[in-house]
């Protein structure tokens, strides 16, 4: 039986506890939060053995094998480092750390201690994301990706978070180096990082405060971001983060030398884009029919998953946690290679560096800068 603990008992901890209890062969031996009431409420609502307010006490008394870190982002590094030093396997919610150097330090520490580490990029493990990965790995693109487009929208109308953030100048998200962007864009960046082949892509970032936020005198929160990523091997990518564009989308478009794919996370749709054209007017009649067939296929797949009780809102998180536990138990490869975690962290660092430089110069202009190469970037762990 794998003994699991959760540190940080806020909103996302609920999702973790819900998914962990659906996984066989594990139990939640303890939850921990500096606020005793928060630790207690999680303890009361889930099958949890004990609750703690002190991390050291949790490790000493509950003796967990795996610790999920679901605290606010600014504490991820310190909590994860402590847990790794105690030889616990660690699952860190996104964003992994505040800086790429911290990410590198955690990866090095995990390897030195012989324990495993992962990050909560669960969007990459939804049913549709897994179907897409399988197609890419089967060679559907016809070679390495030529270009990718990752869209990540964010609705600032969400009352539980965005309004609290906008209305509170002391909100913890404002203390992050990348502020709102740091807390939300890693899902969209990680989607690109997964398919990049090099370790030091060039990053050009342009961020600005939307007119909507300016109207309410918000000058600090950058809620519109456009990024160009390119690497010497030839692959390029655009990343778009927007709070204003509608529809609000979460998509990845990936184009290879032969074919392309469109992943629509919101509707769990995967569309194959056929590279070859039909002749003459056939190209205007046959592809729409083929697209219709693909959409019907997506509908059937989604209905089948729902009827099979396998279409939970957090199914990506469930799959990621289960894969992480399997990699611990069976010494299987990690669900997210360390290279991908580090590359995501470095791209995010480059974006926030550029935005802060532009802000300090009193402008939001384009500025090109290469990602500083990492010292060691381990490949896929086996």
């Amino acid at each position: 039986m794998l003994k699991v603990a959760i540190v940080g008992c806020g909103k996302i901890a609920d999702a973790h506890a819900s998914q962990i209890r659906r996984i066989e062969g594990c139990e939640i031996v303890g939850v921990c939060d500096r606020e005793p009431l928060m630790a207690k409420q999680l303890f009361e609502r889930f099958p949890v053995k004990q609750y703690f307010t002190d991390l050291t006490e949790l490790v000493d008394k509950a003796r967990p094998d795996v610790i999920h870190i679901t605290t606010p982002a600014e504490s991820h590094f310190d909590v994860a480092r402590f847990c790794l030093e105690q030889s616990c396997h660690v699952y860190v919610e996104k964003p992994f750390t505040l800086y790429a150097e911290q990410a590198q330090h955690l990866v090095d520490l995990a390897q030195r201690k012989g324990v495993k580490l992962t990050v909560g990029h669960n969007d990459q493990f939804s049913h549709v994301a897994r179907r897409m990965r399988a197609l890419v790995q089967s060679g559907y693109l016809g070679g390495p990706p030529v270009h990718m487009e990752s869209y990540y929208s964010y609705d600032l109308g969400d009352p539980s978070y965005a309004r609290a953030l906008l209305g509170d100048k002391r909100h913890w998200v404002r203390r992050l180096p990348g502020k709102l962007l740091q807390n939300v864009i890693s899902h969209g960046i990680a989607r690109i990082a997964e398919f990049l082949t090099g370790d030091s892509p060039h990053v050009i970032a342009h961020g600005f405060v939307s007119s909507l936020l300016k109207q309410i005198n918000e000058r600090e929160i950058v809620d519109e971001l456009r990024v160009i990523i390119s690497e010497e091997q030839g692959t390029t990518a655009y990343f778009t983060f927007s709070s204003q564009m509608r529809p609000s989308i979460h998509q990845l478009r990936i184009y290879g030398p032969k074919n392309g794919l469109v992943l629509d996370q919101d509707h769990e749709i995967l569309i194959r884009l056929r590279g070859q054209k039909f002749k003459s007017y056939a190209d205007m009649f046959i592809p729409p029919a083929l697209f219709a067939k693909q959409h019907l296929g997506n509908l059937i797949t989604n209905v089948r998953l729902f009827l099979g009780r396998d279409f939970h809102m957090d199914s990506g998180m469930n799959y990621l946690i289960e894969s992480f536990y399997r990699s611990i138990r069976e010494h299987a490869p990690l669900p997210i290679p360390y290279r991908e975690i580090l590359l995501t962290a470095r791209i995010m660092d480059a974006i926030f560096d550029q935005l802060s430089t532009c802000r300090s110069n009193g402008q939001m202009a384009l500025q090109a800068r290469p990602v500083p190469p990492g010292t060691i970037v381990p490949g896929l762990e086996s």
Partner: protein, 377 residues
């Protein structure tokens, strides 16, 4: 307080004292007119009416606590046009900050705690913004030597509405939900835990407290129709209330009850339900709403069907391990859609409360405001 917001004093501008033209409060009240009173959630729908009620009664030393994101229009509207002489301090802050709570509770004699996490779907968020905040206010209030009472504004949501001692009648003697975690409503869970922590502090530290549980509060500034009437979750509006009486209370009547719960002597440790007289049935309310505010299509769902639906949803949710969250379940059906009668006898007998705005007049004002503002449920 770090984020002291629009702090202002509605006071005499010169050194010459201005004549106070506010009415003098009754001698029988727990506190005197110059005692400091804290109102959390003061910029909110009910909180702003509590502020107005206190000013109307001649209390002239108020601390209005509001979230950093709150708009102060409601408080501004109350302050404007009032006779000079009352000191109204507006503090913008976060009750999750102990420093903010300390600042807010300084020297207060009476606390009306209305701030809560409303509309939160997540249990931890609702808990954090209702229970942890309440604990912080209680802790800060422990340092107030002058505190005479802590009034918690709770909700009807805390009642299980099962195994009532008097059949269909729901009053203050009815049982509280024992397992709020399985009712699927974060708000209900948070409110019950909020009451528990106030009761615990009352027992452990001797904080004198009163619990006020309003029914469905309506009035100008609130557009949504209570879920006790129906829900619009599935595209069409499903009318679930049928012939049930809806426990309405007009916002000004509710504020009056809250204020009296803080002022009247000899009610420490008590709970009071707040509902108006002459309550309409769900059918009657919906018919009037469609006629006087806005017409829309609704589908009536008989109680037997809504109960079966809740039962099946609950079973499916469990079977599918939460693929559909347990938002509909039998506990919720009992609490919101079971035929129930309501009593305000205790409120009248112990606090001397009477609904100043009759239900017919309250509904008329409400519908007129909906029509005028073009804001509908």
């Amino acid at each position: 307080m770090n984020s002291l917001g629009a702090s202002y004093v509605n006071d005499a501008s010169g050194s010459v004292p201005r004549q106070v033209s506010t009415p003098e409060p009754q001698d029988s009240f727990l506190i005197s007119p110059d005692d400091r009173i804290l109102i959390t959630g003061a910029a909110g729908f009910i909180g702003s009416r509590v502020v107005a009620n206190l000013l109307d009664r001649g209390f002239r030393n108020l601390v209005c606590f509001a979230r950093p994101s709150s708009e102060l229009a409601r408080i501004d509207a109350i302050v404007e046009g009032r006779p000079l002489g009352a000191r109204i301090e507006v503090l913008k802050g976060n009750l999750l900050s102990r420093e903010d709570c300390e600042a807010a509770c300084k020297d207060v004699a009476l606390i009306f705690h209305l701030a809560a996490g409303i509309g939160e779907k997540s249990f931890p968020d609702a808990f954090l913004n209702s229970v942890v905040t309440t604990r912080n206010v209680l802790d800060a209030s422990l340092r107030c030597a002058r505190l005479r009472r802590f009034v918690l504004v709770s909700s009807f949501a805390v009642y299980s509405n099962c195994q009532k001692p008097q059949g269909r009648l729901l009053d203050e003697s009815c049982p509280i939900e024992e397992h709020p975690e399985i009712r699927g409503e974060a708000y209900c869970f948070a409110k019950i835990k909020q009451e528990q922590i106030v009761t615990e502090y009352g027992k452990s530290f001797g904080i004198p407290y009163v619990l006020v549980r309003p029914g469905s509060v309506y009035g100008l500034g609130k557009t949504e129709i209570t879920g006790r009437v129906g829900i619009g979750t599935f595209g069409s509006y499903l009318h679930l209330g049928g012939s049930n009486t809806i426990p309405f209370t007009y916002v000004d009547n509710c504020a009056e009850a809250i204020v009296l719960a803080g002022l009247v002597k000899g009610v420490d440790g008590e709970a009071f339900n707040v509902v108006d007289d002459d309550l309409p049935s769900s059918h009657q309310f919906l018919r009037q709403y469609k006629k006087n505010a806005k017409h829309f299509k609704s589908i009536y769902v008989p109680h037997l069907i809504s109960y079966a639906f809740c039962y099946l949803w609950e079973r499916y949710s469990r079977w599918s391990e939460g693929q559909l969250p347990p938002v509909f379940n039998r506990k919720r059906w009992h609490a919101e859609w079971k035929k129930t009668r309501y009593s305000n006898e205790k409120l009248k007998a112990r606090l001397g409360w009477t609904p100043k705005v009759p239900t017919a007049e309250g509904l008329r004002r409400y519908f007129e405001a909906c029509r005028r503002d073009g804001r509908y449920a």
